[in-house]
Amino acid sequence: MTEITEVPSPFCGIGTDDLTIQVDGLALKVTANGCAVNTPAFEQAITDTSPRVDGKEVSLEVAAKKAAGLLKDTQLPVIGGCATDVNGMRALLALADRVGAVVDNMNFSAARNNLLTLQDSGWMNTTLAEVKNRCDLLLVVGTDLEAFAPRFFERYLWNKEAMFVDDTASRQVIYLGKAPSGNASTSPNGQAAKVLTCADADLPEVIAVLRTLVKGQPIQAQTVAGIAIADLQTLAEQLKAARYSVVTWAAGALAFRQAELTVQTLSEMIKDINDMNTRSSGLPLGGKEGDQTANQVCGWTTGFPARTRFSRGYPEYDPFLNDANALIANDEADALVWVQAFNAKATPPTDHLPTIVIGRSGMTFAKEPDVFIPVGTPGIDHAGHAYRMDNVVAIRLKKLRDSGLPSTADALHAIENALREMNVC
């Protein structure tokens, strides 16, 4: 048995790297600093260790050849999931370039709310260490932050010391739109977060009113979506009085149409506050299922985020037309490669296309895919790199055990090599 300390997590998105994990052969046990997200993700047992073709165990080489054969004559293969580390994503994009595939990270439709805002008007954002040391007011919009990241408050708001906040326990937390599910947002000195709730579908209107109040424009109504205007006025004053407010939201939790406009309103409000003699920053939540990693690697490799097609021989980005789920549902796609190295529960969304799964060992299927290659998890079975939610810090993932499982990159390279040998260029 070995104990490994300062283990970084590729699962939680908030850059946790203080886990202590006991390794006993293939069994892992989180013994310090675990949480509801990380502990089960690390402790999940390995099941399959051999690739399967049509349900029969084969070598990686045979599986790769079968996969290459399935991809060889396709017109529009889709590579979905895209949940892997940097090297996995590099290999995925190399394969996509070769076969003319559509690449679509499974979280893209959520991330799109952020990306469309960025691409239309930009934003002023911050990162986790700045939150930890500067944030004096945290506004949580439309999401239950502690469910998303159980240790967010412990690590970044209720930390014992901060360089620029004298008493971290005095930080203010305000939830707008959705109430927290627990008490993590209650400060160590017992102060509970202020909570202003409304229906999800009303959030756009509430945010629009808040921005109006921040800008000092009058509102005639007394309430919006059940929230008193006076309460929003108070919030607007608090944002303008704070030295460094942080506004955070989870794009995926904004489950209504044109949610990118709400993200844009928040981002423009933040810019407005920065023109009012104080500082404010946005902190979009993310960093799960390899989403930030996929967008980063796809960004530098193609110029576009990870919903891009190569079918005409060069990358073409379209955040709507390249939706893998739509292409599958509309029978435009003719094969699916599903890449998911982190979450064994995230299985491929189709049962009628030729399907190749590069999946975390432990994945089970309602219908057996044509090819299944169980792969190691980055940060457990092999070293690698992944991005956390603030999209700036790439974390170095550690190898914890010798499972013999190939990495996602190994599996995808094997498929690409098989295609090369078939003269698919």
Binding site: G122, G299, T301, A383, R396
Partner: protein, 554 residues
């Protein structure tokens, strides 16, 4: 395999060769001495009528790191206009202002470049910089680690830690980030912006730390020199883009007291306040000061007209300039108590008075600085223009008639405000070679690069001599990288991977005691997870690390 390059006209300023007909021999990736008789030559290239130079080195280009990807994501419309299809030996991607990584490598190589250096590697984002650059084929690469707005250094200065302690921290940072130099951006200004300070003059105190930019520059320039790092402190000074900032720049040069210092994209720091528009050229005074202060090197950051994107660590100045964004969208970020960044798309227009004068100021600077070993050809890619515009810039420098034709087309008020028409200087091929090859290699401290004498790596670019210098430099006939032919007739025919250049200055290991405490209390990564290991660059089999000697050692 022995390769012979026969009869080319060689410009190799590192060896003092200025336009001499010579043969060059290549073996095992290196240039070798003329072999003894009767040795079989495996491949010969007839270079009669061709000009031979070392592979070009871009000592300041934003090709790696998070702000590059922010710029890419921000501007899908720019990329849609420049799609790059896959070929048998090249990957697909996109080009223009912030090209994809593979296309960056191909386009540099297709211009005859074999190395590029990212000048603003945030230590906390250094992994990304290296991973992006690892996906740039053909080019060697490296980075200058950013310090000076990180809270750790500013706390050291406030606590009046001694120079040795600072030196240890600087050396530690360079090793942790796998850097070859140190960069400071708007010294203390990025940090001050986080405290809602909106400007920071050279002798103004950071509102929290009470430290001035001048102190930061003095301390870091001293550290770099004492550590023996070849590349001088690389400085993006205060007041970028502000009319009147030439005084800041002059004061910065004077104030460093003879320490080596590299002033980057100096065009953006060379503005006066004369004339009806309160915007004028300070280039003549800046050039005079550069000519006088032999400890100073500069790169220009030339503005060229067209759409581009500015991407800078200087969040303070980028935020101040956001109203000029075109298209109208922009990003700033505060980053990890380490630094910041700002991305603002920009369209430089020849009929805009300010832009036109910026263009003229850059050219004036090039033409008035005497020593080609202390001035470097850059557009601060992509800030002043994409790197693909370098051949055009070379023609502006080498061809007075062409330059004056271009001058006659810019905003008439800007024409009145520049002395460009009266400057007769035309750069020679040797001077271009100094600025883009030997001089750059020397400035960065690259051993065995930037020259064509035996022992050098065989990074070689061969052009057909052409009076139209833009056509000449945009399409080399051959480019060799480490002895392999990678470009023929201006097209990539073979892709390979370059090395990452670093230096490893010494530091007292006890520096990590204070750093560990700082990381544990205030940051979001453990110290051990912050440091980049060699295998992170080499593990996938294509990356390698080349360590260069420190000055005063070896």
């Amino acid at each position: 395999m022995l390769i012979k390059l026969t009869g080319g006209t060689v410009y190799d300023p590192a060896a003092g060769v200025d336009g001499k007909k010579q043969d060059i021999y290549i073996q095992d990736g290196r240039i070798v001495k003329k072999p003894v008789k009767d040795v079989q030559i495996d491949k010969e290239y007839d270079l009669k009528g061709k000009v031979v130079m070392s592979g070009a080195i871009d000592m300041h280009t934003h090709i790696g790191g998070g702000k590059g990807n922010i710029a890419r994501t921000l501007l899908p419309e720019d990329h849609r206009q420049d799609p790059v299809a896959r070929t048998e030996c090249t990957r697909s991607g996109c080009g223009h202002a912030m090209p994809s990584t593979f296309v960056t490598g191909y386009r540099y190589a297709e211009m005859g470049y074999t190395a590029g250096f990212e000048p603003a590697v945030l230590p906390v984002n250094a992994r990304q910089a290296h991973m992006e650059m690892a996906d740039i084929p053909i080019l060697d690469k490296g980075g200058y680690a950013m310090l000076g707005s990180d809270d750790y250094l500013l706390r050291m200065l406030t606590a009046k830690k001694d120079q040795k302690a600072v030196n240890d921290y600087v050396a530690w940072t360079m090793q942790a980030a796998k850097a070859i130099g140190i960069k400071v951006v708007n010294p203390g200004g990025i940090n001050a912006f986080k405290f809602n300070q909106r400007k920071l003059e050279l002798d103004e105190q950071n509102s929290h730390y009470g430290v001035t930019p001048r102190q930061i520059l003095q301390t870091l320039a001293t550290a770099v020199k004492e550590l023996g790092v070849s590349h001088p402190l690389h400085v993006h000074g205060c007041n970028l883009g502000v009319p009147g900032n030439m005084e800041t720049t002059l004061d910065t040069m004077e104030g460093i007291g003879g320490l080596p210092m590299h002033l980057t994209h100096i065009q953006f720091h060379s503005y006066g306040t004369e004339g009806d528009f309160k915007f004028s050229s300070g280039a003549a005074k800046i050039a005079e000061a550069v000519n006088k202060h032999k400890n100073i090197t500069i790169d220009v950051g030339q503005v060229l007209f067209g759409q581009t994107v500015t991407a800078s660590g200087d969040s303070m100045r980028q935020h101040a300039n956001h109203k000029h964004a075109n298209p109208n969208k922009w990003v700033t970020m505060d980053i990890e108590c380490d630094a910041g960044c700002g991305v603002v798309p920009f369209r430089y227009r020849d009929q805009n008075f300010v832009n036109a004068l910026q263009w003229a100021i850059g050219l004036e600077t090039f033409l008035l600085v005497d020593d080609p070993w202390r001035i470097f050809l850059t557009t601060d890619h992509p800030n002043g223009a994409p790197f693909t515009s370098y051949p055009h810039l070379i023609r502006l420098l080498m061809d007075k008639t062409f330059r004056n034709d271009m001058l006659s087309r810019i905003h008439p008020e800007a024409q009145k405000m520049t002395t460009l028409a009266s400057i007769d200087r035309e750069y020679s091929l040797q001077e271009i070679a100094i600025m883009t090859r030997a001089g750059a290699a020397k400035l960065i401290g690259l051993q065995d690069r930037g020259g064509l004498s035996p022992g050098n790596w065989a990074d070689i670019t061969i052009y057909t001599d052409n009076a139209d210098r833009e056509k000449m430099f945009e399409k080399p006939d051959y480019v060799f990288k480490d002895g392999d032919l990678v470009v023929r007739d201006g097209k990539v025919i073979h892709s390979k991977w370059g090395t990452t250049h670093v230096v490893k200055p010494d530091f007292d290991p006890s520096v990590e005691k204070g750093l560990k405490d700082y990381f544990d209390r205030y940051l979001t990564m453990k110290l051990g997870n912050f440091k980049i290991s060699d295998d992170e660059i080499t593990e996938d089999g294509r990356g390698s690390i080349t360590v260069h000697p420190l000055q005063g050692k070896n």
